[in-house]
């Protein structure tokens, strides 16, 4: 599981909402204007599809940056 590919996966979904949106590992993604409960569901579905890790609302709330989310998925994948 690579950070770069993870960021790209998320960025693709954020750009469906805002084509100019770019993400970095330190982006506080839940503070962005495009973030919504619907985008959260899409992100969770993509992470489930790609990494076979299923997150819920509390998991998402525990993360601030893209890297936090990446680390959480990685940790759950290895558990």
């Amino acid at each position: 599981m690579e950070l770069k590919a993870f960021i790209q996966l998320l960025e693709n979904e954020f750009q469906v909402e805002d084509e100019h949106c770019t993400l970095q590992e330190d982006t506080q993604y839940r503070s962005l204007g495009v973030w919504s409960s619907m985008l959260a569901l899409i992100v969770i579905v993509q992470i489930t599809d790609t990494y076979d890790v299923v997150l819920d609302e509390e998991d998402i709330k525990r993360t601030t940056t893209v890297r936090d989310l990446y680390e959480l998925v990685k940790q759950k994948q290895q558990a």
Partner: protein
């Protein structure tokens, strides 16, 4: 969808991602039991059953006519069914159909005979706040009737029925019953977060929790029942899932490696019709197919409770009765 509480993008999300384009809402004064009554009248007539022969009536719903008595008793009288009929309600939602089939089939098995009616339906529109954008555009109202008759030559029906009450608050109407009785402020609405305005009598829906629950619990349940019945997924003609969210059903199908041709969908036309979504899908998408020869089906319902149930059933030339629109 003409709905002022959602942006155009949010409406697009509901249509494209969740998969809902149209919903069916019953008018004021029509209850879930009214919808089931119409379905039962049509079904009993088409089958040419005598109402004196029906000795089981089970009504599965979260929207009964009254707190008491049970709605099944009201329906027994209204349908003109014999008094030699056991009748009771079961409070279940999205998992209602596999549970209901199990209950009626089990009763018939114990009686070694008889005929049963399973009536499953909900008027979810009466539970949802129109000002709650997390739930308002998802649900439809529908009722169904299924006739079951004991046949000692019939193939086995297989069930995997499960519960996890730790998730009860993920789908809940908190007020109006024993724990939080109706009081003077029960109808007052508050804005719990932007776009989510509801009273304690309205449904709370935590969509992300339901997604996680569904994609984690349903695939193992289906694998379990296939193994128990010694059936391979290739030998199942159709997988009929509860219709809550296209993303959920696609994820479950992908995890199980099921061809989408075997997974009929009615979300687009009917939304989430709660307890009735599986029979609505059977009637709407498969009624002609199932009227011709034998078919093996997996039915999977999952949601409020949290509760989930999977069934393997084999059908043989079912009555060809299309969906009724009132």
């Amino acid at each position: 969808m003409d709905y002022p509480y959602l942006s155009d993008k949010e409406k697009q999300f509901i249509s494209k991602s969740i998969g809902i384009n149209k919903r069916r809402i019953a008018p004021d004064g029509i209850t879930a039991s009214d919808l089931c009554f119409e379905a039962a009248q049509k079904l009993v007539s088409e089958l040419a059953w005598s109402k004196d022969e029906i000795n089981i009536l089970v009504f599965v719903s979260q929207t009964p006519d009254y707190i008491t008595p049970n709605t099944a008793s009201v329906l027994q009288h209204r349908l003109g069914i014999s008094q030699q009929c056991l009748a009771f309600d079961v409070n279940l939602g999205c998992s209602a159909y596999p549970y209901g089939l199990s209950i009626v089939a089990g009763l018939l098995q114990n009686m070694k005979g008889g005929k049963g009616l399973l009536l499953v339906g909900d008027k979810s529109s009466q539970l949802v706040s129109e000002e709650d954008k997390s739930a308002a555009l998802l649900f439809s109202d529908a009722g169904s009737a299924t006739a079951l008759e004991y046949d000692d030559q019939a193939p086995n029906m297989w069930f995997d029925l499960c519960t996890d009450g730790s998730g009860a608050e993920s789908l809940m109407v908190k007020g109006g019953a024993g724990r939080h009785p109706f009081h003077s402020a029960s109808l007052d609405k508050t804005e719990e977060s932007p776009g989510i305005i509801r009273s304690e009598l309205n449904l709370i829906l935590k969509g992300l929790d339901i997604f996680k629950f569904s994609v984690l619990k349903v695939p193992p349940s289906i694998r379990n029942i296939l193994e128990a019945a010694s059936v391979s997924k290739e030998n199942v003609d159709y997988f009929v899932f509860h219709q809550a969210n296209q993303l959920i059903n696609k994820t479950i199908s992908k995890k199980l490696g099921i061809d989408s041709d075997k997974v009929p969908q009615t979300l687009g036309s009917f939304g989430n019709s709660s307890s009735a979504s599986i029979p609505v899908t059977l009637s709407s998408e498969l009624h002609t197919t199932l009227s011709r020869g034998k078919h093996r089906l997996i039915l999977a319902g999952f949601g409020v409770g949290l509760s989930w149930g999977t069934a393997i059933i084999e059908t043989d030339s079912l009555a060809d009765i299309p969906l009724i629109e009132l």
